[in-house]
Assembly symmetry: C3
Homo-oligomer: 401 residues x 3
């Protein structure tokens, strides 16, 4: 989606001039009493989708311009996303789509976490909010992920919204007949107000966002991004420790293939005085790009082969699953890597009282089940936090702050 | 479903005598202050389903008669449907099930389009209507069709209704254990208020309609009918051109196998001074039955091999996909047919300003993507119109006019 | 789920002391004006789930104790379930999970049937109740069962509740990556208020119930239990005959493999002067465990090879499908067993006027279709009763009596 509701609000309040991103794809000229919009080419009805973002009656005039091709528009968009270091626009935050962890800076993370925290209260009171009543979310999953899908659908329904589900879009949809993702998105956006998408190809979510006139949330695109997982991880750390600055985090397990730990390391670099320990079998060590990035941001990090020592020092022990599917036929390497670093009662014994164990789930035996009953086992609370983060994002994208 | 709500309303208003269809399957004797009903055999609870159609308290007496078998009832029903040239009954329209394009005459089409147009306003205002609150739609899909399913589910939810989904009934349901369609329908009708059904066998929807005590909508039955697609096509033409009489329509692509173009040709015959051009590779030409039908109805048609010339004359260029699955092992024929008629910028260049390009989607390369940005590319608007048509049909079948 | 709402209510009313089950897993000390709870280990947030059961503001203090492991808790729980001969606690019934037919005694069956009967009225008036508004049910199906799933989802939606669906959890979920059922349950319970579960392994539902902090309903676990089917069968007999004492029931067909008839025989033993006839091909005769159980309970039973004679004497003829899948390669035995006992017009002719034919569905040809139109064919009404029973159970588990 191109223009956020909050942005609109601020524009309507006359508090600021239109920022650069506004110029790039669809042009809206707004004043408190008069809104007109020009829109490039192909989607006559797209402005209607946006009308929910405007006080009714404000969208008084829409002109079509044929000057922009959708291709041009897309490239321009993508550039904009990467150039915009902050989503803070005037007094309001801007949030059109959720595509990658890179989108978020410290300010917007803090603001999202505040909304997520409000969402916990809604859930606790069990007076189910109705703030998204009348909104429809489509879950377009090109590969199944029951956990993520149910989490999003629960989030939408907890806020009074409704859901259209596609559990296996790859096999069932027109994709099987050769339809492009872009065409599918243009059709589905006609039926819903927001699309939560999981895809097997890296970059698919960004392509969808460029095409769609409604918000897109990336629920994982192949080896690429899974930004809501990254957000819930950081949110959980804040909830468990009460802070994000000055913490020590041990990342354990498959650091080479786990996009979770890569995104987490990236986001942690936004906070002060964070120290990161990498503990992994040799075959799945953290890659240099992240290490270089951390160094460039002044984040201290070190590699260690001693889980016990790291666990005794850390505030967070973030364990991950060794993913068998990444080893192909090298089963011996998998078996060796798998058993090397296990979080069990012995690890708990050396951990500090306030420290917690996290895991993105599902887990196999890299955390023993006897750890579950320890209050420092935070992973099921972490999964639950995914609900609150997704509730927050749905609210923000659909109705704004 | 046998007796429509609108029919009931008119009966209750004492404005007319019961028409012929009433005598055939279930007999209702009604007066404004007293309604009694007799019902053939097997469905003790069917009258309960109908109670929603009556002012509460009106259904004071129900007697069962054993005289009719469900078989007799069915045959009688089917005959009635085909003999009834209009669904207009007294001041009200009658609409029990949506099974095939043949059901609709010009009057009822116009009336449905008016309701569909009201539905557009509901959606635009984003004040989601609640007129179907409390109603449950079951989507019973024996073969997957994500696009059609989501369109129906969106329609139901946009009107405040709820949905039960079966994405792959063929594999999952009791059908796999050998249950008849009739038995499945009798079970599912106990759980829902309307069934939207897609099946792999021609005629399945009619069999379901004969069995069910609740409305059935055919969302495609194999090589048979897909009436809501036909309706949305005609609706789109009216929306785009502002009229249906006196138009010139070019049907392009796979005319032999595409049920879409066959149904569309059939429905266009109901309008005045329509001219149809068939443009297709030799191997997939329009079959004689439709040509003969058009001729018998006085509709002008001609076959042409020159897409450019047809495009320059037509108000509608209706492109279709060459369906690879229809060619079996004759890949060479498919490849030859596939590339023959492409709608691209050159075709647009010769088209009139007011003319539009339609396509039932999904498309492969029979329309090039650069066409998308031209305002005359109507196919995504056409897909969106499917939502409004389905909203209209759900409203009409469940609560009447 | 550990503590029922009804139990809570009675505690809050100060009418009784906490019964034994309360001591076993999670400890709640309650007085009308002050509620505190202690909870074993691993689920910090579990008490929040329970807060919906308490008048808001009552849950003033929660302490965590580390004394119990989840394992200990589980075993203790399971024992309690089996030792408790009645679910009657003080003036209220207790119902935490629905796992097996064995849970129900005559009193609780009668009470559930009363609620189910109220549910019929809700459905009939079509003024859809909203008593479960704000509640979310997750249908976690590890093997598909469209009929059962739709029945539960319809029940939830008829009461204003919402649904999260997993049609094929076995293939799609984290189970495929090796996650334990327990971990899956702990995650899903974070997203929903009640879990309806179907699994391929006997005992899976009980494991889930022991793990979960929210109610679990067993929708069939492999060759194990399918308690809601058993309840709807008994409910149907009561609805059709007006009584359960003093009835004669013929169980026909596959009595060796059909868990339906086994559960039904078990539950019928709770009523007075019931006589059961077993009519089955030799290869699928009723097993000795049920026969011995009936004998021990003083229930009269006999085996017969004469369906006509049994039919003429019985109040209920309960036909079942000969399940081909149980015969493996012994197709000849299957074919022989299959055709042996058919309920057709001849059987109807000897049946008493008040007697009815039941069948758990799906049926193949063991009941001929001409039987359907006879008012004594109760099997589609039986399927519909499944809706009411499930509505009743969802209401009872989520909001109590």
């Amino acid at each position: 989606m191109a223009v956020s509701s909050s942005l609109f609000t601020s524009l309507l309040q006359g508090s600021m001039v239109a920022p650069k991103t506004l110029k790039c794809h669809r042009e809206y000229m707004c004043s408190p009493s008069n809104v007109s919009c020009r829109q490039s080419g192909y989607t006559k009805s797209m402005n209607l989708t946006h009308s929910r973002l405007l006080p009714s009656g404000k969208l008084s005039k829409c002109e079509q311009t044929d000057g922009f091709s959708s291709k041009d528009r897309s490239q321009c968009c993508a550039v904009q996303v990467e150039n915009a270091p902050s989503f803070l626009v005037g007094k309001k935050f801007q949030l059109d789509d959720v595509i990658e962890a890179l989108q978020f800076d410290r300010d917007i993370l803090g603001a999202i976490f505040e909304v997520a925290s409000e969402m916990e209260k809604i859930e606790k009171n069990s007076s189910r909010s109705q703030i998204l009543k009348g909104y429809l979310m489509a879950t377009l999953f090109y590969e199944p992920s029951t956990r993520t899908r149910l989490s999003f659908e629960s989030a939408m329904k907890r806020l009074g919204g409704e859901v259209l589900t596609t559990e296996n879009a790859r096999e069932f949809s027109s994709a099987a007949k050769g339809e492009t993702l872009e065409d599918t998105i243009r059709t589905i956006e006609g039926y819903s107000d927001i699309i939560v998408m999981r895809h097997f190809e890296s970059g698919a979510a960004k392509r969808a966002a460029v095409t769609a006139g409604i918000p897109i949330i990336n629920a994982g695109d192949g080896p690429g991004q899974h930004p809501t997982q990254a957000l819930l991880d950081v949110y959980t750390i804040e909830r468990e420790l009460g802070k994000l600055d000055g913490i020590k985090v041990g990342l354990v397990g498959d650091l080479a293939n786990g996009r979770t730990v890569r995104s987490l390391a990236y986001l942690l670099a936004k906070y002060q005085d964070v120290k990161i320990y990498f503990v992994s079998p040799d075959v799945v060590k953290m890659k240099d790009d992240i290490k270089d990035y951390l160094t460039s941001k002044g984040v201290e990090w070190e590699e260690s082969a001693d889980l016990m020592e790291v666990a005794s020092k850390c505030d967070i022990v973030y364990q991950t699953r060794i993913q068998k599917e990444r080893f192909g036929e090298r089963i011996d390497q998998y078996e060796q890597a798998r058993g090397k670093y296990i979080v069990d009662q012995n690890v708990l014994d050396v951990m500090q009282k306030h420290a917690v164990v996290m895991h993105p789930l599902p887990r196999l035996d890299e955390i023993t089940v006897d750890v579950d009953r320890d209050p420092r086992a935070a992973y099921f609370r972490q999964a639950k936090n995914g609900l609150y983060i997704r509730m927050a994002l749905l609210k923000l994208l659909l109705v704004g702050w």
